[in-house]
Every structure is written in C-alpha cells, then in structure tokens.
C-alpha cells in the first residue's frame, strides 16, 4: 500500500499527523500541506494510515496498491 496526498485538496489541517505521525508531517508555516514521510506504508502502520484517510477533513488522502 502507498499513501498519497492530493495537494490540491489538502488544506493542512494536520489530522493525519495526529493519528499517523510516522507517515505524515505538516509544517507550521502558512499554507503548509501534508507531506508523506514513507510512501510505502509498512504493515504495522496500515491501521494508522487508514485512520489518516478517515480523519482527513478534506478527503485528501488515499491508499493505493
């Protein structure tokens, strides 16, 4: 599974960083967007990655094969 952020949708809410800090980071600077830290999601972080998809207010995160 690969984690992908649609930067056109992302508004930098940083909910992904709250629930999956190993996978996503959002800076504090104005206009910051989520960055994917590990595109290939390890097995043990799959649940956290799915949490990030669920909690993203913009629906900007997807997991693709």
């Amino acid at each position: 599974m690969r984690a992908v952020v649609d930067t056109a949708l992302c508004q930098g809410h940083a909910r992904c960083e709250d629930v999956a800090p190993e996978l996503f980071a959002v800076g504090d600077e104005d206009g910051a967007r989520a960055r994917v830290l590990q595109p290939e999601v390890p097995e043990d972080l799959l649940n956290a990655a799915e949490d990030a998809v669920f909690y993203c207010p913009m629906g900007a995160i997807s997991l693709v094969d």
């Binding site: 508004q11 930098g12 809410h13 940083a14 960083e17 504090d28 799915e50 913009m58 629906g59």
Partner: protein, 414 residues
C-alpha cells in the same frame, strides 16, 4: 421493547423522533437513548420527522451527511444573532462551527497551530499535575462526586491554559461554564435564563478586556496568537476573536468533562474491560476511542441544511432539507461495529463519529484525547478499587450532549 415515558409511547417513529429532537430522550435512563436509535435504524433509518428534520441513524448515512460539503449550518443562528442575542452573536462570529467552508478553513488554519501534536504534547505536564492534585484531594474524601468534585475541574483549567487566561481567573471561568451548560436545557426557566445571560455577558466582557491586555503584552498562547494573526494581516475581527475564545471554552470544557464521566461510568459497567485495561496499558489509545464510540457524550450534531441533494442508500434527500446526523445511532450501528452495545477496548478500527467528521471534525479532539489519557492513566495508577456510591445514574435533558447529573463514587487508593 416498549419504552414508555409519562407523555408518549415510544413505539411510533414520529414519537421517537420528537423525543430525540426535544431532548427528552437524552434524559431517559441507562441505554434507552441507544434503544430508540436502534428502533429507528432498523425500521426507518432515513426518517423525516414531523418538524421536517431528517434523522440519520445508520453509521454510513451519518458519515455521508457529515462529509457532504455543501451544507449550511447556520441560518437559525444568524437569525438569532440579528435579533441581538449575545450568545448567537458570539457563535455567529465563530465560523469554525457555523459558517460556509471558506470561512471555516480560514479560521481553522489560524488557530490550528495551537492544536497540533507538539502544542498538545506541551500541555501534558500541566494536565498531569492538575489531575494528580485533584485525585489526592478526592482520595482523601474516599467518596466523592466524580463529575463535580473531579472531572469538572480539568477541562476548564486546560482551556484557560491553552487560551492564556491567567490561572487566578480560572475559578470564575468555572462558574461561568457551569452556568452556560444550562443554556442547552430543554426547558429554560427565567432563573436559568438569567444565570446563562449573566455568564455570557461576563465571559464576553472578560475576553474584550483580556484581548486589550494581550495586545499590549502578548504571550505565546492561543488568544495572543489569534490577535497577532489578526493584527498582521487584518484577518480576525474583534468579534471573531471574542467568538473564537468563547467557542473554545464552551466547546472544550463541558464536552470533555462529560466524556471523562461517561467513560468512567462505562468502565464501571464493564469491569472485565477495566481489568483488561489495567493489565494492558498499551490498549489505552484504543480504549479511549472505544469509550467515545460506546458512550461518548455527544449524541447528535448541529442540524445541517443541504445545498445539494444527498443520496443515502435508496433515498435521495433533496436540497433545502435539513438533516440531523445521529452520532449515538451511528456509533452503535452493528453494520459498522459488531455487538455494538458491548464495550470492547480491544475492538479493531474504532472509527467513531464522536468528534463529528469532515470539515467540522473537532479541532480540539487531540486535547480531549490527551485529557482522557492522563485521567484514565492516573486513575489506574492511583485507585485500586472504584465503585458507584449511588445508582442509578441520572441524566439531564441538555442537548446535543447527554449530561450526567452527578456521579457519586467510592475510591480505594492504590
């Protein structure tokens, strides 16, 4: 089952819907509110009430409604604001909650720095010290009211710390928030109205004064950050600053107090789960999500008026209609959560609706989680045995949150 109250026989879906909308249902004992949601979900999952409000009790439908972007949360609130109600004016200035997506985003981005992972982690030592002191005080008493002697003191202190309200002013804030909580009662007596009005005025004037002080002597807390954000780019108006401060307090205090109390009640009702948590402290984050799913205090969200049609299964709800997402109904939908009435702290994938969803997902959720983590952790460390000292628990008719009236417990120190 047939649930009867003095006024209505709750078998008819129209009566159930009325009981939910007039908040009567939330005051019913034990698991009754969830039984009502189940009756609606099984027979009328997308149901239009007598007042014309659509009630959504399936998880998938409630989630779809909360994520449906073209919605207007505020027509009633704006009418009340125009009519001169101070609470409504403060809320109407707080578009995190009520206004259109563009304004919600603009305000969220200004305040979210205070709610990010690092800011929230920095609050932990303060919360730990606070909780430790409160536990010491209450353990000396042995029997105490978990709600009013313990839990109620925590969130207001945390919100004041977050905003940058001086510690010395916290007690008066606590009195205001207690009085404010009555504003959502089903029946507002003149006496309640007076207390609420006086608390609202007090908070409003306090924030106006504090903003003036912080403008001259800024600090690194949320209110100061919001003022600076405003002053640099003229982005938050004075009304917005007062409204956001008020909103942070009202959204962050009573909700979390009730979350801690409902969570503790659920753990006492499922002693096997409390034992499991004691043995498996690594389950704590998941246990907190499960406690919010199973018995979180918020039972439904602000009604939303659809700007575009919303398809829910076989039904298309037309634009212009108002929908109410039943958080309590969705969180106990067996399609999403098997055996939903059982508390299971090891339950996988507890993606509940307790913090809402989509654009209006609770911005303070990480702080509520932090407070729950510190409180439940400290209780496990310091309390060997906890029991109800009075049952049954009574609930009040405030909404959209179900509020415990009081919760007497007896605690044996570890």
């Amino acid at each position: 089952m047939t649930t009867t109250t003095a006024e209505v026989d709750l078998q008819d879906p129209y009566d159930i819907a009325d009981a939910l909308l007039n908040r009567q249902a939330l005051a019913l004992p034990g698991d009754t509110p969830w039984e009502l949601y189940r009756m609606l979900r099984e027979r009328n999952p997308v149901f239009k009430s007598r007042q014309g409000m659509w009630i959504l009790t399936r998880y998938a439908d409630a989630l779809a409604a909360l994520r449906h972007p073209p919605m207007d949360l505020g027509p009633e609130m704006r009418r009340a604001a125009a009519a001169g109600h101070l609470v409504a004016q403060m809320n109407a200035a707080t578009m995190l909650y009520f206004e259109d997506p563009a304004d919600t985003l603009r305000q969220r981005r200004l305040v979210q720095q205070a709610f990010n992972r690092h800011s929230v982690a920095a609050l932990r030592p303060m919360v730990e010290t606070l909780v430790d002191g409160l536990l010491t005080e209450n353990l000396e008493r042995g029997t105490f009211d978990y709600l009013w002697d313990f839990a109620d003191n925590i969130p207001v202190n945390v919100v004041c710390e977050l905003l940058g309200v001086p510690r010395a002013d916290v007690p008066v804030f606590r009195d205001w928030t207690r009085n404010l909580a009555e504003a959502t009662s089903a029946v507002i007596t003149d006496e309640i109205a007076q207390r609420v009005q006086s608390a609202v005025q007090g908070l409003h004037d306090y924030f106006v004064d504090l903003i003036a002080v912080l403008r001259k002597n800024p600090n690194d807390r949320l209110l100061s950050l919001m003022i600076e954000a405003r002053d640099e780019g003229n982005r938050l108006s004075e009304e917005e600053l007062v409204g956001l401060s008020y909103f942070t307090l009202s959204a962050g205090s009573d909700t979390t107090t009730q979350l801690l109390t409902h969570g503790t009640i659920a753990l006492l009702q499922f002693p096997d789960q409390l034992r499991l948590l004691r043995e498996r402290r690594d389950l704590m984050p998941n246990a907190i999500e499960e406690l919010i799913r199973h018995s979180g205090p918020v039972h439904y969200t602000q009604p939303r008026t659809l700007l575009e049609p919303l398809r829910l299964g076989d039904v298309e709800v037309p634009a212009g209609e108002t929908v109410l997402a039943s958080v309590g109904g969705g969180n106990r939908d067996p399609e999403e959560f098997p055996d939903p009435d059982t508390l299971d702290i090891a339950r996988p994938r507890v993606r509940h609706l307790g913090f809402s969803q989509g654009l209006h997902l609770c911005i303070g959720a990480p702080i509520a989680r932090l407070e729950a983590d510190v409180v439940f952790g400290a209780m496990l460390d310091r309390i060997a045995g906890l029991e109800f000292a009075e049952t049954p628990i009574e609930y009040s008719d405030t909404g959209p949150m179900r509020s415990v009236k009081r919760c007497l417990v007896t605690a044996e120190p570890a």
